[in-house]
């Protein structure tokens, strides 16, 4: 029943702890609304047909004043029904507004047309909020310029982000997956393109991601012919945080792996096959959303203006050096491929 109504009403997936309850209240209110209004219209229709004038002469109609008790009962009952909905609704609202004590605090900064996330342990990320499944997360949000609104339709949650204040929003993801974050409060030119992803990882994956993110990024050198450049590439990739999402031992993680990648064909989200070469890698670094690998969330931030051309070519050399390298066991390979349901869909072909 829940699934049927959810599809009919075009509601997104119920991916947070509160989503199911909210949808339940939603169904009762909307169904009661439709029933009440249709009943009223039906009664009006019946009266129209029953009492339409059939003669040309206008008969005198009785003057009927509604008895007071009828009004009190009808409108009192309706008021009680509305207030009952409000009581349930406000209880849920309090639950939404008060974050549990053990929630993981994450700092969110909204800036004209992007979302930036910062974890207390230090790693920061742009456009991708990595959270564990099954544990409450508290977002402490502020804005750098105008009012934005952090809105995750799949969680049924939204909170305006007001500059000069810290607004809190908490949620608990129920299953792994990536969910669209949209800006709901008009904030200017690219208001409709100010999007991010909440990536919910299972507990072990999250723990491992956090360790990888926090561990000092020293990785053993990989075999490569241009020893110097590949070595610089590895250091740059570690320092710039590439290796937090891309692994070097062949297992997919948040981003596709770099091992055995160079020169191969990459199946993309929109069904094409692209050769992984210098051009593709450079374009992926500068405009990651231009071509998205199938099965991976579009969460990679753009490194336009972050990486110098020398660093870009160094990283490419490092990826080339991993082309046929035996997977170095130094980094414990993740338990298995991340079970990613296909993300909602890639955002429209934005400029």
């Amino acid at each position: 029943m829940n699934e049927l109504l959810r599809r009919i009403l075009h509601l997104p997936a119920q991916s947070s702890s509160v989503a199911a309850d909210i949808d339940a209240l939603h169904y009762t209110v909307i169904l009661a609304t439709m029933a009440g209004v249709t009943l009223a219209a039906a009664i009006a229709g019946v009266f129209l047909v029953r009492y339409r004038r059939r003669t040309t002469a206008v008969p005198l109609t009785p003057r009927i004043e509604v008895p007071l008790w009828f009004e009190v009962v009808a409108y009192g009952g309706l008021l009680i029904l509305f207030c009952a909905w409000w009581v349930v609704g406000f209880a849920q609202y309090r639950e939404i507004e008060t974050a549990p004590a053990d929630a993981i605090p994450i700092y969110v900064t909204a800036k004209q047309w992007m979302w930036k996330f910062a974890y207390p342990e230090g790693p920061t990320s742009q456009d991708a909020l990595i959270v564990p499944v099954g544990r409450p997360v508290k977002l402490i949000m502020t804005s750098r310029d105008v009012i934005h609104s952090f809105y995750v339709p799949d969680f049924r949650l939204k909170q305006d982000v007001v500059p000069g204040r810290a607004e809190t929003l908490w949620f608990e993801a129920t299953e792994p997956g990536s969910h669209d974050v949209l800006c709901a409060q008009y904030c200017g030119l690219r208001h409709s393109l100010m999007r991010a992803q909440v990536v919910a990882l299972s507990a072990p994956d999250y723990a491992r991601w956090l360790d990888a993110a926090r561990a000092p990024l020293e990785l053993p050198g990989a075999k490569g012919d241009g020893q110097g450049l590949a070595e610089d590439g590895r250091a740059t990739a570690a320092e710039r945080g590439c290796l937090r999402c891309h692994t070097t031992d062949g297992s997919p993680f948040i981003g596709p792996t770099w091992a055995h990648a160079f020169g191969q064909l990459r199946h993309t989200a929109d069904g094409r096959d692209v050769v992984i070469d210098e051009a593709y890698l450079t374009e992926s670094m500068m405009d990651p959303r231009a071509v998205i690998a199938a099965g991976f969330p579009p969460v990679m931030p753009s490194y336009q203006g972050v990486l110098t051309p020398a660093e870009v070519s160094a990283i490419i050399e490092y990826i080339r050096s991993l082309r046929d390298a035996a997977p170095a066991r130094a980094v414990p390979s993740p338990a298995g491929p991340i079970a990613f349901p296909p993300p909602g869909d890639t955002p429209g072909a934005n400029p």
Binding site: H26, C183, A184
Partner: protein
């Protein structure tokens, strides 16, 4: 029998129109201005809907799109919705329903028309000159920091507010002091109660809007920083001031519409209202309790939970008055003698759309559901159900209902029914998909949207085209019947209403023979008074 010319021929030449003090002529001038505003606002809506056919960038730039939805908002809300029924039908019918020869302050009435034109000109010049892209809500700090030209548009809205206050003040004074001898408050038509309640809201709430947009204009021009968070200011306070006006403003829009419906139903059902006191007092109830509910626009804006609780409960109370009205209208049909004319078809459309829109208002006031729906297309569908489904439908009902009295011509009944049905169909095709878009989580004011919302947006755009066409059809045949419509008798609908006891179109001072209030305006249980030429349809 006609001793003096009717008000349309009482004076010749453009001066007699532009400097008139006759409330009926001012009503017609407002009708022309308000219809232009509706056409302009509708055109902007068409462009917006056409852009939304594609999810990516197409047809217009994002900045143009943002300016267009601001234009659509400002023009529709401040230049059509707020003045439409009060300034046109309130001006025309209120004095006649009270038995007065004119409004209390005719000069202020004419001044309010020219202040309306000045405000409209200032706002539209501001739009063409620099074009605000803040939305009609002007939320700080975006409205005070955006490089686009906000000040003239904000001041234009301020001036339109002054015109609204002048109209409200005129109606309150007239209702209190210029009733015909022997016409007690409980003998007055319910339309007068509705316009009176609307005027109270206009007079009390509009100054706060004037202040809010005035502060935005000053902040934008001189950087006074009253809402600037860097100086310690709080943008949410602007939202409080803005919605203190804007929620009662939605009652300014719907109360006159309810008044029109309260006149149409008894006339075509030939029956005394199911409960006169319920209809009359619920208008005042909406006017007063409506001031206590503005916070339900701020549930996710960062107000405290305590405040959200107060506003949530109050919103439930104000909804009861609307429910009272809907039940009483439907009750009036019971054991009536109903004829099915165009105004009645608009009544049925009004009942269904307004009740549905109102109930989705209840759904949004159920605080936790608002967290998901706020600022999405669900809210847009909700308020368009009330504004177009309610106020525009009632405006068209009033236009058809009083058309014979205003112009002395009959409109073509068949065309009326066809266009009403098309308006109803076009409206539903446009806004029911938007409810679903809101559920799916599409935020409002989106230039580009994720692809999953594509199909519903295309449906909504097609509906918008149908609605636009239906409205243009209505305009065409009404203009045509100005010339070629059958001459209208004094009382084409056989109504007991006071305004029908004068010839169509009425003489300059409304009544050849002052009507006898003893014959009630809803006395369908007694034969019609003889002094008015009651013509059977």
């Amino acid at each position: 029998m006609r001793t003096e010319p009717d008000y349309l021929r009482a004076g010749r030449g453009i001066r007699s129109w532009l400097l008139t003090r006759d409330h009926k002529r001012i009503a017609l001038m407002f009708l022309v201005a308000v219809t232009l505003a509706l056409t302009l606002g509708g055109a902007f809506a068409m462009i917006l809907r056409t852009k939304l056919l594609y999810s990516g960038p197409w047809l217009i730039e994002p900045l143009t799109y943002n300016r267009l939805f601001t234009l659509h908002g400002v023009v529709m809300v401040f230049m059509f919705m707020i003045p439409a029924i009060p300034a046109v039908f309130g001006n025309f019918a209120l004095p006649m329903m009270l038995g007065a020869k004119d409004l209390a302050f005719p000069r202020i009435n004419l001044a309010s028309f020219y202040v309306y034109l000045a405000g409209a000109a200032l706002a539209l010049w501001g739009m063409i000159h620099g074009g605000a892209d803040t939305g009609w809500t002007f939320y700080a700090p975006y409205s005070t920091t955006t490089p686009t030209d906000v000040a003239p548009v904000a001041l234009g809205v301020f001036v339109l507010g002054v015109s609204s206050i002048m109209t409200g003040l005129n109606f309150i004074a007239t209702t209190h002091m210029l009733r015909r001898r022997g016409l007690r408050w409980h003998d007055m038509p319910i339309f007068v109660w509705a316009i009176y309640a609307t005027s109270i809201i206009q007079v009390i709430a509009t100054p706060v809007l004037g202040l809010a947009v005035g502060l935005v204009a000053i902040d934008h021009a001189l950087h006074m920083g009253i809402f600037d968070p860097a100086l310690g200011g709080d943008p949410v306070l602007f939202e409080h001031l803005f919605w203190f006006y804007s929620h009662p403003a939605v009652y300014i829009m719907i109360l006159p519409a309810m008044g029109v419906i309260a006149e149409v139903v008894p006339t075509f059902a030939k029956k005394h209202p199911f409960s006169y006191k319920a209809l009359a007092y619920s208008s005042l109830g909406i006017a007063f309790v409506g001031f206590l509910t503005w916070g339900h626009h701020l549930f996710v804006a960062g107000i405290s939970q305590f405040d959200a609780a107060i506003f949530g409960v109050m919103s439930m109370f104000v909804a009861i008055f609307s429910a009272i009205k809907v039940f009483t209208w439907i009750g009036t049909l019971y054991r009536g003698s109903i004829t099915f004319n165009t105004p009645m078809l608009y009544f049925f459309a009004f009942v269904y759309l307004f009740a549905f829109g109102g109930m989705t208002g209840i759904a949004v006031a159920t605080t936790s559901l608002d967290v998901h729906w706020h600022d999405t297309y669900f809210v847009i569908a909700h308020f368009h159900f009330i504004m177009i489904g309610g106020t525009l439908t009632a405006f068209l009902a009033a236009l058809h209902y009083w058309f014979p009295k205003m112009f002395g011509r009959m409109y073509p009944e068949r065309w009326g029914l066809v266009s009403a049905a098309l308006v109803f169909a076009g409206f539903n095709l446009t806004f029911v998909p938007q409810f679903l878009l809101g559920n799916a989580g599409m935020p409002r004011r989106y230039y580009a949207y994720p692809d999953r919302f594509h199909v519903l947006n295309v449906m909504s755009t097609l509906g918008a085209y149908l609605l636009g066409a239906a409205l243009i059809l209505t305009l065409v045949y009404l203009l045509a019947s100005l010339r070629w419509g059958k001459p209208a008798p004094a009382n084409p609908w056989g109504s007991r209403g006071f305004e029908w006891r004068s010839p169509s179109p009425p003489p300059a001072h409304n009544f050849v023979v002052p009507f006898d209030p003893a014959h009630g305006c809803y006395a369908y249980d007694r034969p019609p008074p003889d002094e008015a030429p009651a013509v059977e349809t």
